[in-house]
Amino acid sequence: MTTATVAAAPAVRAERAPGIKPRGWIGFLFIAPNLLGVLAFTLIPLVSVIALAFTDWNLVSGVGGITFTGLDNFVAIARDPGFWNAVGLTLLYVGVSVPLTVVLGLALGIALNRPLPGRSILRAIFFLPYIVNVVAIGMTWLMLMNPKAGLVNQVLEVFGIQPGWFASSNWALPALIVMAVWGGVGYCSLIYLSALQDAPKQLYEAADIDGAGAWAKFRTITWPSLLPTTVFLLVTLIIGASQGFGLIALITSGGPGDSTTTISYYMYQTGFQFYRFGYASAIGLVTFAGVLALTLLTWRAQRGRALND
């Protein structure tokens, strides 16, 4: 796609001969409906959230009650044990669920790339959780993971373990991780599948002639050719996993205790249950900066790898 952009740009420029000028405002007219909406519903809110982060404001004090407090919110965040607890939980949640989803998605993608009986049905089955709303999924798993009578613990009885899942502060986060992996694996496998279909076939043929084994082929051909896809998936899943609060709001409300109060839920709670808009905005900004840094690190790591190869 990038190549297409580069190729098309000179063609467009070359057309800017005399007499083409009126098209200036016409182009703007085409963009205007979208631009006005983006301005109203994205850009202005974005500027506002940045401004709000430097104020102390809550619902009770009303618009007149906005006071500029400089960096106070950020200082308070740095000292807020609730915030750091949430950061730790988020890192744990993201750090376990994202790599697990990507690795299992890769394995599944490779498996689904073979000739299989009913292959397209198989693909659809694994993809299914991805298109279902979070409430239907959450309610179902909540009952499946009922500690006393749920199906999950009936199965686990064979192994002699009976986790308390959402009733236990040790098991609530793992339960969310199980759900995240189940929900994301099919999506990853599909993305990998479409990348695998673009994999360089001549290289595999050459490797076959050289008598390379399956693992050698995976390590030297498949994995490097999938690296951009892997980075893309890591980035999307990191962003998704660190920003979502819907499932937690639905199932655990951050509990038991604060064992599932991830950073995004903490922000939701601060903003929409305690109506501390200034502080919530600051948390949102800090989180966004953190996720962005994590994303860039992932990106850099991949670039470093690509240069070494």
Binding site: A8, P33, L36, P45, A136
Partner: protein, 274 residues
């Protein structure tokens, strides 16, 4: 090993995995059709006996029917999809095919905002929608969804890959910009538009976080919010009714998925990578 044997050698374990993977959905469907006393029966009763159609009936026609919420979700989704397709197609086309001053800078600004998570914007949206009287109305869900950066980006990527010669030839023949767009390029875009439409529909249909923050009265609940109607004040879930309502909420996306599977998967994978 023959090809056929190899096919089943991998096929059988994968099918077993797939069936285990489907278990939550099977449980949902089974529970939707059974009496509450059987929901947690040990061992699990997969085939409901007796089959309890009353759950579905209550969910659809009872006092706490989800049908009004279903209707609101349809209303929101239709307007969002139509609005997004309209604004994104035009803007994407101009970003790709009509040059004007500052276009590329504006596009960069667009790209930069694409990485902003929607959750970050909820606080100011909550405040503004309250001031504008849009809080707790369906418009709070519809309006932001009609003007998206991502949709514009997708459409631009498509139009940029189309040959510019069509437009040049048409201009020679005296066609104006609107005619070039609507008669030449728009018809070419229908696969991408349907992909974007599918995505926009699924996002809108499944959105839970936005209405959770911006909708407060039950008479404005969209479908995902209304699925919590069957949880009492102590947090006790009525299994049969909740699962029946969940089944109802899945049917539309499932239909779109089954009918347009190929296009659906292409939409999901392409927006991803490119």
């Amino acid at each position: 090993m023959t090809n056929k044997a190899a096919k089943w050698y991998w096929g059988i374990p994968l099918w077993i995995l797939a069936i285990a993977f489907l278990a939550p959905f099977a449980w949902m469907l089974s529970t939707a059709l059974k009496q509450d006393v059987d929901a947690y029966r040990i061992p699990m009763q997969w085939i409901p006996d007796p089959v309890q159609w009353d759950n579905l009936k209550t969910v659809l026609t009872g006092e706490t029917s989800v049908l009004p919420a279903f209707g609101r979700s349809v209303f929101v989704a239709v307007l969002r999809v139509a609005g997004e397709l309209f604004t994104a197609t035009m803007a994407g086309y101009a970003f790709a095919r009509i040059s004007f001053k500052g276009r590329d800078k504006l596009f960069l600004l667009y790209l930069a905002t694409a990485i902003i998570p929607a959750q970050l914007l909820l606080v100011p949206r909550f405040i503004y929608f309250q001031k504008l009287g849009l809080y707790d109305t369906l418009w709070a869900l519809i309006l932001p969804g009609m003007f998206t950066v991502l949709g514009t980006f997708l459409m631009r990527q498509f139009f940029v890959s189309q040959p510019a010669e069509f437009a040049e030839a048409a201009r020679m023949d005296g066609a104006n910009e609107w005619q070039i767009f609507s008669r030449i390029y728009l018809p070419l875009a229908s696969p991408v538009m349907s992909a974007l439409g599918i995505l926009a529909f699924v996002w809108s249909w499944n959105d839970y976080e936005t209405p959770l923050v911006l909708i407060s009265s039950p008479e404005n609940y969209t479908l995902p919010l209304s699925l919590t109607n069957f949880v009492d004040e102590q947090g006790q879930i009525a299994p049969g009714l909740t699962m029946a309502a969940s089944v109802v909420s899945i049917v539309p996306v499932l239909l779109v998925f089954v009918i347009l599977q190929r296009r659906f998967i292409a939409a999901m994978t392409h927006t991803g990578i490119k």
